[in-house]
Symmetry: C2
């Protein structure tokens, strides 16, 4: 079941380039060329309409609709989902030359080149269009503002060797499709002056405004026209041979997630548009490039010796930063970011498990905001716990607004890892970033509510001897409804223990505040202690193996290698229930908690469990290989580590999973970062000291990355023969098994 | 959680009577007063429209619609269900006196009496209606023909002390509601001559025709009018004081389940109507009463000393006979028979488990037809097995047409008991009725396909040491997805063994025919033998307990008595997943197979398991108490046996479950019969000889029932001090633990 790369984009260290256009790969290119700035995201679709397979997509963080409510007689089963909705198409455009509409899939084009410049945060497209014996050079450029999140920019230029008539129509269009179906945006205001429209969602009454201003280097007059949910800015000119016509469109998009006053929102947008116009296109582009330059100076990973990996990891970092950088504590990171409709924009437990580490070391403020998102949705989590007949807070498996969006009860009711992941995230954040104020305030409050949930969802065995979770699904979703899943029990135990440590570390004042907020009683703390103490952890010290869940060893065995390659993914080829009754693992489960709490396990324990579970795993989660790679690195299994790393950085660039056209795998992108930093870098951040065990795949000549840690900037620079550490301040670290103090530069031979 | 009786109907040995009309109980009365003749069923709704809560329902066995297909990405998950559809309202009527429409819920009525005469199969209603100072006596009568299944009869009579104008409109109306929603019957033919309509279902293109002929003792002229899906026969007369006007309507309903030629169906119906008219109303009623008399002579159960139970059990027998008596091998017994829309008319494994025994001893031909139904739907069962990635035949948990109708994968994919129940039914039928031709033909073919399914659905444990079922739900639906459910494993083992015995008993010719039909190979028989031999049965000989499934003993314990009464039923008060993670049992599971294969277990084994599991069972199935009562009888726990018997015969008459308004619990009705015959009668029919251990609840003075067995009629007549057995031929029996030969009358003191 080896995955196949589709090498379509050129490999360059700082750019992703499409040097010839293949209509069949158009949707993949749209995903890869996505731009975003956390506030909004837009796929890299062509400005003009195209007759190739396309998914024109424009999304705003937190703008969503509810599905109709499903009938169900069962309590605790989610009856309606919610989903990020495809929104205004603000880069839409029509371009006609001598009356012929440009369509890149049909036109006779040459000198084609589309470039995503990651250093500058800029997407450009250039080509020569031959029609009626004439040669017209077109170029397109767009970017989203990383500092002023409402602002977007579009430039189109036309140059011809002959005289031509040019008609340009810039459109702001709410008549969009979502999963191929028309979206019923409701127009609530329109303003020709700023070519603006405000539309409202149907079920959530949220507002989205889009206004724009166009300007061109010609004397022609722009005509504004408006029909339902569509505003057009039209210009017709005669372009003389050799002249270049350039038109810039400045765009402001603004949303009101709570659905306030449309006129007010329009006013805000149009004022912001004036400020944007005052700065102008070129100045803004320069400023935005400077933003990206500052960013790369801090967060780049340099890989020498493998251009594909170099480009791949930069693409990952670029997309992660675009999708989320902590602009707003009500934002989160969807599995597909803002690059498509798949997964409905939902954030999963991936956020705390796979994404958070990147932010811990690159952007602690953003890390804090991700946890604040959970704090801001604590009420929804408490409601969900009540729906499940429990107390405390149960975090959703999939959500945009904090409510559980998963209507499959087997996932929404049986998977507890989103909840323990929040507790883990708090602990991890505090351990790396040391934010005691967050811990003692919102952190402690969340921890108490999480423990309440865990104490009420867990049960004592028939003899009242041990505690644990019955009827759960761990991260390994191929074991649907089991008892004493060790991941769940272990994570819950750690959550209880961390909470107890946190509470006992509080000052009297802090504790009083916590009690005032949560009504926490000593009897509850006693219960949490008892739960942690009596938590059943299925461990056999003779084999050093953790049993994945009670009865796992007895399950019918399937040799993964015996499954014909054409039967993957299993969900598409096996009947639903068949998947759940054997020892195949979808994604690591025991290995996962051994990685998250790495410092609590010996190398021998890790080796034993890796050797037992690795052959049973079929990696039907794109997140699975990274964890295996990281553990393989630690165990010195360099070849396996490299194999599992394999396509991690290029999952989307080379479309390994054949579904990049639906959107980028944002959380896998985060896992690729972890794979490098935790895997080859050997970073571990769950213990008292930060640990480093840098190594490298054999083909690489140099790996260099930076970590923000302990108030310093730490550079980790590895070559085959030495490790160079460089810190802007004094840092105690654990390097290659020894405690090291770094200040300035330290070189350690390898 | 004691259930409460609502004593609404008068207790009489042969009738069910409503002596005053309570509009609030109208729907319950409609269910209780249902008439059926297997071909069709009609609720006991008033002929005229009524302004009380009502569910006018008319159903035909095997006439159904498909639901729209649901989206699901999962293989083997049923995407569309099908359901018995409310059909033509052929008893509909309007009655106006002096221009006022009669509405029983609003009219000033007295001398009211509605009577279901079970001895005669007749439903009558009489009352005096006072309006405008006049007194009008109305009477209504209806019955369905048990011998000519297309025929229905309706009589209305009016008598007044004053001169009145009477308008009578007999309607044949396809404009009906299903679950309160209009049904879109499609009219395909209409014929004024016979006041007939033919309509078609939408998704299955089945045809239903209804024609009628009215006649009255007056010279008035009947006018026929027709609008869409409605035909009316209208008469207006002047009725003189003291005169009695009687109008009879003869009705023929005919269906074409395969959707053939509407004109042909109409011809058939109208010819049948001529034959019906030739016989006439009174002669037909007399003939039908004779049918019921013959039936009761054979199948009555006499209970002396408890009129409520006497009435109750006769009501059960009457309804069971009405619903199904083996008229057509494509019919089956829906959980609610033909008395309502709940459960969609679906037949469940209840048929073979709870209903079949009644037919084995009363109507072997009908028992054979029930099994033939499974044979006729073998292809659907084979398709279902393939959908589940298995071979052989998997019988549906719920169905009308043989296809799986349950869209909840957890039931449809995990419950194997419908399949083992078919095998059990074949074995039981052959053991009691001795039909070797059925066994060696269709029986053996089904058994082979069932074993193929069971062999392919089962799995070997990790060490390849034992066989069993992973990811299953046994009859106890509170344990959703478990491994080695002992009911499932045990029943599968018995199925393999019975199949092997059957195959080895075949003559060369019979075996050749079986191989020709099924392609059966010796290697398959070897596999079946290995599966049976290595089947894991979780039994502890020291405690004599069967563990309900692997890990059951470890489950968190809930003391059933600790659950507040207002939390039942649990599905309505507990979150869905909460129900599945403790040791509460919904309905007997271990006790069930110990009853079905009674002869294979010692009394000590039965006692140990009864004592262990009984306290854990909350009986959230109406079928559960009967099995407990039967076992309690066997164990000499007479008080418990009586308690569990409790409301068995009167579940619907006294509306214990508060949902009789939706329809009668037909399969619970069958279980009530079993409760008396197998419980108090102590009958066991799974061994070589028929076993009898007759006893009685303390309040009864006499229990007398008849069994057709071994070609004889056996009367079992119990009083407190003796058992009288009477056989029409020579019979070897096991009575009170001793082998007895009965021929003629034998009296045994108790």
């Amino acid at each position: 079941m080896a995955k196949q790369a589709t090498e379509y984009f050129s490999v360059r260290p700082w750019t992703v380039e499409e040097e010839r256009f293949d209509p069949e790969r158009n949707r993949v290119a749209e995903a890869v060329f996505s731009l975003a700035n956390e506030y909004m995201g837009v796929r890299g679709h062509t400005d003009e309409e195209i007759s190739a397979p396309t998914l024109r997509g424009s999304y705003f963080n937190g703008i969503y609709e509810y599905s109709p409510e499903q009938a169900s007689g069962y309590l605790g089963v989610v009856r309606r989902t919610h989903y990020m909705i495809n929104s205004v198409d603000y880069f839409a455009m029509e371009l006609r030359v001598d009356g012929v509409a440009f369509d890149q899939a049909k036109a006779d084009i040459s000198d084609y080149r589309r470039v995503l410049d990651m250093k500058k945060g800029l997407l450009t497209r250039e080509l020569v269009w031959k029609l009626n014996g004439k040669s017209v050079r077109l170029s397109f450029e767009r970017f989203l503002d990383m500092e002023y999140p409402n602002r977007a920019y579009q430039r189109v230029s036309v140059r011809s060797d002959d005289d031509v008539n040019v008609e340009l129509v810039f459109k702001t269009d709410f008549n969009v499709l979502h999963w191929g179906q028309p979206v019923q945006w409701k127009q609530v205001a329109v303003d020709r002056k700023c070519a603006g429209i405000v539309c409202s969602t149907r079920t959530t009454s949220q507002l989205v405004a889009s206004v724009s201003h166009v300007d061109g280097n010609c004397n022609g007059r722009w005509y504004v026209s408006a029909t339902d949910r569509l505003v057009c800015n039209t210009l017709r000119i005669r372009l003389e041979a050799g002249h270049k016509f350039v038109a810039d469109r400045l765009i402001v998009n603004a949303v009101d997630k709570r659905g306030g006053d449309a006129a007010k929102l329009l006013d805000f947008a149009s004022e912001e548009l004036s400020r944007q116009a005052a700065e102008g296109y070129d100045a803004a582009r320069k400023r935005n490039e400077a933003y990206w330059q500052r960013f790369w100076n801090k967060s780049d990973i340099v890989i020498e010796g493998d251009d594909a990996d170099q480009q791949g990891i930069r693409f990952c970092i670029f997309q992660l930063q675009q999708t989320y950088h902590g602009a707003d504590p009500t934002d989160n990171i969807g599995a597909k970011g803002l690059t498509g409709e798949a997964y409905s924009g939902h954030a999963f437990w991936d956020t705390e498990t796979y994404c958070l580490p990147y932010y811990l070391f690159n952007n602690p403020a953003a890390a804090k905001y991700l946890l604040s998102y959970r704090y801001n949705t604590l009420e929804q989590a408490k409601k969900r716990a009540r729906d499940l007949d429990c107390t405390g807070a149960c975090y959703p498996i999939a959500t945009l607004n904090g409510e559980e969006a998963c209507t499959l009860w087997q996932h929404a009711s049986l998977q507890l890892q989103p909840t323990t992941a929040v507790a883990y995230g708090i602990a991890h954040y505090v351990n790396v970033c040391g934010d005691r104020a967050f811990l003692t305030g919102p952190g402690a409050e969340m921890l108490v509510e999480i423990c309440r949930f865990l104490a009420s969802r867990g049960q004592w065995d028939a003899k009242n001897e041990y505690f644990g979770y019955y009827g759960v699904m761990g991260p390994d979703e191929f074991q649907m409804m089991v008892n004493h899943n060790t991941y769940t029990n272990y994570m819950a135990k750690q959550t209880f223990l961390f909470t107890l440590r946190t509470v006992s570390s509080l000052s009297d004042e802090e504790r009083a505040a916590l009690v005032a907020k949560t009504g926490l009683k000593q009897s509850e703390l006693d219960l949490f202690e008892r739960c942690a103490d009596k938590m059943l952890i299925l461990y056999d010290s003779s084999t050093k193996l953790f049993e994945q869940h009670r009865g796992y060893y007895e399950l019918p065995h399937i040799d993964v290698d015996d499954i014909p390659a054409d039967q993957f993914p299993l969900y598409s080829h096996w009947s639903y229930d068949r998947i759940y009754r054997n020892d195949i693992i979808k994604q690591p489960d025991v290995l996962m908690f051994m990685f998250l709490y790495s410092s609590q396990f010996t190398l021998e324990q890790k080796r034993a469990n890796y050797e037992f579970y690795e052959p049973r795993c079929i990696h039907e989660s794109s997140l699975s290989p990274s964890v295996h790679s990281i553990l393989a690195s630690e165990l010195g299994l360099t070849e396996q580590a490299a194999n599992f790393f394999g396509f991690a950085t290029r999952l989307d660039l080379d479309d390994y999973n054949r579904n990049t056209h639906e959107g980028l795998h944002l959380t896998s992108i985060a896992a690729a970062w972890m794979n490098i930093v935790y895997g080859f870098g050997g970073v571990r951040s769950d213990g008292e000291l930060l640990t480093l065990n840098p190594t490298m795949p054999s083909g690489w000549k140099r790996l260099c990355f930076r970590l923000g840690y302990g108030g310093c900037e730490l550079t980790v620079d590895v070559t085959p023969h030495r490790l160079r550490l460089c810190s802007t301040g004094k840092l105690k670290l654990f390097v290659y098994g020894k405690e090291v103090e770094v200040c300035g530069e330290t070189v350690i031979p390898r």
